[in-house]
Subunit: 362 residues, 2 copies
Amino acid sequence: MSYFRKNIEKMEGYTPGEQPALNSIIKLNTNENPYPPSPGIYDALKKIDPAVLRLYPNPSSDLLRNKIAGKFDVITDNVLVGNGSDDILTIAVRSFLSENEKAACFTPSYSLYPVLAQIQNTEIVKIPLEGKDFSFPAELVDKTSDLYKSINTAKIFFITRPNAPTGTNIKLEYLDKFCTIFKGIVFIDEAYADFSDNNALPLLKKHDNIIISRTFSKSYSLAGIRVGWAMASKYIINGMMKVKDSYNVNTVSQYLASEALDDTEYLKENLAKIIGTRKKLSDKLRNYGFKVLDSRSNFIFASPPDGNAEKLFKYLRSNNIIVRYFPGERTGKYIRITIGTDREIDILLKTITKYIDKYEKV
Amino acid sequence: MSYFRKNIEKMEGYTPGEQPALNSIIKLNTNENPYPPSPGIYDALKKIDPAVLRLYPNPSSDLLRNKIAGKFDVITDNVLVGNGSDDILTIAVRSFLSENEKAACFTPSYSLYPVLAQIQNTEIVKIPLEGKDFSFPAELVDKTSDLYKSINTAKIFFITRPNAPTGTNIKLEYLDKFCTIFKGIVFIDEAYADFSDNNALPLLKKHDNIIISRTFSKSYSLAGIRVGWAMASKYIINGMMKVKDSYNVNTVSQYLASEALDDTEYLKENLAKIIGTRKKLSDKLRNYGFKVLDSRSNFIFASPPDGNAEKLFKYLRSNNIIVRYFPGERTGKYIRITIGTDREIDILLKTITKYIDKYEKV
């Protein structure tokens, strides 16, 4: 007999991107920041007194919450800290979705949403992004359209902004309109927002059905400490607090995240470098005949001239460069490349030049 | 309108024990270890290269899993690492309990189980421990009894061993028999097992429906890093892996837990000290006329001579000593005292002497 719930028994589980040993590997597959965290983190680690680790952490990460609130011009009651923004997503699913209810998201977008829905035993409706540019379907903000009606009863709609793996941004006006007509929670996953020229924060004061999540994993170069946070109304945060694990964020991570948040100057420099490298990489690949979507993130989604992304993916892999490949009718024509250091991207470009010389030149 | 699920909307949420600032407070309320973690943790913290924190952690904490497997004579596939053992409990609830199904536990035991059941929108049957000694009801291992029939269809039964807040141990023979007749998962929460003279590990090879959870929070003095683990059959661990968050344990905690596990000598000394202090405290309180349950844990459950535990709790609080008080018809006659350092327990005993002189002597 099976002890597991049927939905768990039959599911496959989420496959995180490969985390290989780094010796001689150029790792451009899981959208980590190529630069180390703020120098303040070096000092902070040294200052930790191991004796404090015998005690439980602050259950709601209050020092960090206060700091986040101050920085983003909300109040502490608007902030929930999580064990990575994946924890925030899990808390949201468990807060708003009963079994056999419905969630929704775009496709392609972050592949964890359908996995979380499956764990919760809820349906998830996937709205396809349209055309060559994976653009957001206009009918979705038309209440009378069949497309909108297909998600009308969903309790939560997950929107990655900038989107992954496309790197593109749903327009704020579109998002604003969607928040007005949609009756459930709009979960705006802003893991990559710092790499974009705008974000959805201005909508937070306008709509009571918005949750915005952020993370220290990308722009702050701290994927290893697992800290993310949600910003939402006090009412929503209070409810989600009841669902989170009591001590969901450990003492060291609360402290390091708090230190990283202080170093605004370092964050700016880091972002400027990555955005610069993103432009260089996008321009060069377009010169080589790639289709490159207009990225607002720390990765690009690029399709080689012959559309055979799997072949390019494997070629790069055999040359010790790991990028991400998502099989599928449409995504399978693209590879997703995390923006690395300039040195790493130079090596990538040289390797792609060789590939093109070998396979694509006539 | 409410965005939340009805079960979430109406629940109160778990209240963790108070985490006050430590200045001049003697904190004996949340069963933390009074001694600092292994000296190896001091060196380990210094060795961490912050540059590695830009990368995601190993998703399944494999180095730590391997080490745990080696130490407890199981294979790596028998081990799941969690963000504290609360994470293990949450994963189990989400793996084995569908909405409107049934879970079960003893009462009093760890008060988080009913909260997790409520979040999952499942019923939880609470089997009362019996009599003055809070003993485990014999009928529960009799398949034909009404008591057993009341939990016959439960999908998971949570057993804290040693139990909290009583500190007492369910007998291994009793547990063995229960695992044989019960058709669901028996979750044996061994957060305090290192303070006991035996544990349920020998049952793991005998029954395929057992999950044993452990933690670094108590015996290893590392509540602040949030690391716990489960041991179970490969089949159970595989299924629970699908439900856990992808990167549920951060890089620093994986590393520190792994270092702590190596220092067997320090663990032994630490345990010996706490068990010694536990005996001293229990003996002295019994001399004062307290009823003290026979603890196998790092805390004791003690009832003052007049049974007015709330009054004693408040008196201690006003003298900067925090212990735990659980209101209720039966638990309300007791206070739970975490075993502190000898110095802390001496101060506690002096304060209790004053209390008895003031209120209980005629």
